[in-house]
């Protein structure tokens, strides 16, 4: 009986702690969402602004109009989808070559390839901005998309999966006269679908959330601006309209939260690839 009680108290204690921590972690998001759902003056009346009463979409719609958020969202969606498709395709092709083809210097080339993972974008943007400028790609979709179309990490990840496919599968296909592209398309790629899904999701999120490069290659051109850098303009407006920022934040973050909930498993797979053994 006593042991049961102790266990019950412990369990209640753990739940209490879990709830407390959850509240702390979620509070910033909750506060911003509540402010975004209040009309202007209400949003500044704390702590009443934190209560879920008198909700309205007026702030969000004002932010939508003022920030031209529809356009920015479309830009972000377009850029992210293009980059995702590009990365999956270039990674599949290069990973196939590294995993299935015989050619001289394959090993050293792969090592050199991996070594480029060590170069952070914070280092290359200085010159890339000039390259984009000389190509006339400032304020353009090409400027946002093309530099991100290849991913060393993607090549590495997909190659790992390809190497785990049974070698007899490729041999059986070779005996049937299956060419490389056909084997890639009909056998290797479908069998790597979970990894490709994780890579795609990961690339999409990374592109959607990118800040440094878009902030350098897009210079105030709303026609091509992504939502991440467009948010800043709402902030730089009249400080008394700070609530517009909250509206913009909800618009910018909502698609990603929905994706997180829908694709939680793939996201975890992508994040933990290479981080956790086994």
């Amino acid at each position: 009986m006593a042991a049961d009680t102790v266990r019950g108290v412990r369990k209640a204690g753990r739940y209490g702690l879990l709830v407390f921590v959850a509240v702390v972690v979620l509070f910033p998001i909750y506060a911003v969402v509540m402010q975004a759902l209040k009309s202007g003056p209400d949003s500044l009346d704390h702590p009443r602004s934190l209560l879920p009463v008198d909700l309205t979409l007026s702030t969000i719609s004002a932010a939508w109009d003022q920030g031209d958020l529809g356009r920015l969202l479309l830009n972000s969606v377009f850029v992210s989808i293009m980059v995702t498709i590009g990365v999956v395709v270039t990674s599949l092709l290069a990973a196939y070559a590294f995993a299935f083809l015989q050619f001289p210097l394959r090993g050293p080339l792969f090592i050199a390839f991996l070594a480029t993972m060590l170069v952070p974008s914070e280092v290359t943007v200085v010159i890339n901005e000039r390259t984009a400028d000389s190509l006339g790609w400032i304020n353009s979709y090409q400027g946002l998309i093309v530099p991100s179309l290849a991913s060393t990490f993607g090549v590495f990840l997909v190659r790992q999966v390809f190497l785990q496919l049974p070698g007899e599968l490729r041999e059986a296909a070779a005996l049937d006269g299956v060419g490389h592209l056909r084997f890639l398309w009909e056998v290797a790629a479908p069998l790597s679908r979970p990894t490709l899904g994780a890579l795609g999701l990961f690339t999409f999120l990374g592109t959607w959330n990118a800040y440094l490069w878009p902030s350098q290659v897009i210079r105030g051109d709303r026609a091509h601006e992504t939502i991440q850098i467009g948010l800043e303009r709402l902030k730089n407006n009249d400080i008394s309209k700070i609530n517009l920022v909250t509206g913009g934040l909800v618009v910018a973050a909502l698609p990603i939260f929905i994706m997180l909930v829908l694709f939680q498993r793939q996201l975890v797979r992508g994040l933990t690839a290479g981080a956790v053994k086994g």
């Binding site: 049974p166 007899e168 599968l169 041999e171 059986a172 070779a174 005996l175 049937d176 006269g177 299956v178 056909r182 009909e186 056998v187 479908p190 069998l191």
Partner: protein, 336 residues
């Protein structure tokens, strides 16, 4: 007419001092519609030999002929062969029907014709009920039959099989052996079959080629190989339990090893070979007697209805006349 000819085939892996000779100067001719077994322990080079016929490996030296054509430089797909792998190598994401059709699809055969051909191949192997399933939903035996169907759907001149039964359990293996022999009878292809299992070799092959350390030891019908092994290696590799091998000088001259199959080693009071019984195995239809003769192990196969000594008993054996195999003590080759 697909005869397969291997002429002085050598295969070395690696180079310089690291080089390993997997196949060493093998010459072998497989006749049209023969069921040839390549038999040997693991690492003897039998799979490498098969893969060179398939075109998955290139010989270091020597020529491979299929029919009248030298195929050393011919791509695998143009060699008119099909191969069944040990792991079956089925495409896990495709249905059984799609797996069987795939070789035809690659060759650009039309959809309707493909389906008809696949169905015919499936019928041969009794796979019609499984056509819509995926390999993961099949038993080991069914998967094995899908691999066979995928091979026969192409109607190849030569059928290559690399230990196709080794992933099946014992009972299924027995059934499938009979099915393969039946399949061979029904289709017009030449079979080349790699195994380390002498039971498969003895029961299925029209001829057996025994390999050891990359060298061809003997080629012959299963009965020939059993009755007149060409080398001491073949003598001991084929037959269960293996042939007794007496060290030089134990029976006859110092220059030869003498081999006696267990069924030819008879308990005879006053026999020439004296030994102590170490172990007795009652298998129902026969009794195996393990005995020690001055450090040499002897195995004798007895009739259960005859007198069976007990462990520790001193016994004497005699060899059945005319049933001794003599091999050169150094080269291991048959003397008489």
């Amino acid at each position: 007419m697909a005869q397969v000819r291997l002429e002085h085939i050598t295969k070395r892996f690696g180079d310089g001092s690291e080089a390993v000779t997997a196949v060493d100067d093998v010459t072998l001719q497989i006749e049209h519609h023969e069921f040839m077994i390549l038999l040997g322990p693991s690492g003897c080079g039998k799979s490498t030999l098969l893969r060179m016929v398939a075109g998955l490996e290139d010989p270091t030296a020597g020529d491979v002929f299929i029919g009248d054509r030298r195929v050393n430089d011919v791509e695998p797909k143009q060699r008119d062969i099909a191969m069944v792998f040990q792991s079956y190598a089925l495409y896990p994401h495709k249905t059984v029907a799609a797996n069987i059709e795939f070789p035809l699809k690659v060759r650009g055969v039309g959809k309707a014709e493909r389906a008809a051909e696949a169905l015919r191949a499936a019928e041969v192997l009794g796979l019609e009920p499984q056509m819509k399933r995926k390999p993961g939903q099949l038993s080991g035996g069914q998967r094995q039959r899908v691999a066979l169907a995928r091979a026969i759907v192409r109607n190849p001149a030569v059928f290559l099989m690399d230990e196709p039964l080794s992933n099946l359990d014992a009972k299924l293996r027995g059934d499938t052996r009979a099915e393969l022999v039946d399949l061979h009878r029904r289709i017009d292809s030449t079979f080349l079959y790699v195994t380390h299992d002498q039971v498969e070799a003895m029961t299925m092959g029209s001829r057996v080629a025994v390999l050891s350390d990359g060298r061809l030891q003997q080629v012959g019908t299963p009965q020939e190989v059993y009755d007149r092994p060409a080398t001491a290696f073949v003598a001991q590799f084929i037959g269960t339990p293996p042939m007794n091998m007496l060290p030089p000088g134990m029976l006859g001259s110092d220059a030869v090893q003498v081999g006696i199959r267990p069924e030819h080693l008879r308990l005879t009071p006053g026999g020439e070979l004296h030994a102590i019984v170490k172990q007795v195995e009652h298998l129902g239809h026969e009794v195996l007697l393990f005995a020690d003769a001055n450090g040499t192990r002897l195995i004798s196969r007895l009739d259960p209805s005859s007198f069976v000594p007990e462990v520790g008993d001193p016994v004497a054996f005699d060899a059945e006349p005319g049933r001794l195999h003599r091999f050169d003590a150094t080269s291991g080759e048959r003397v008489s």
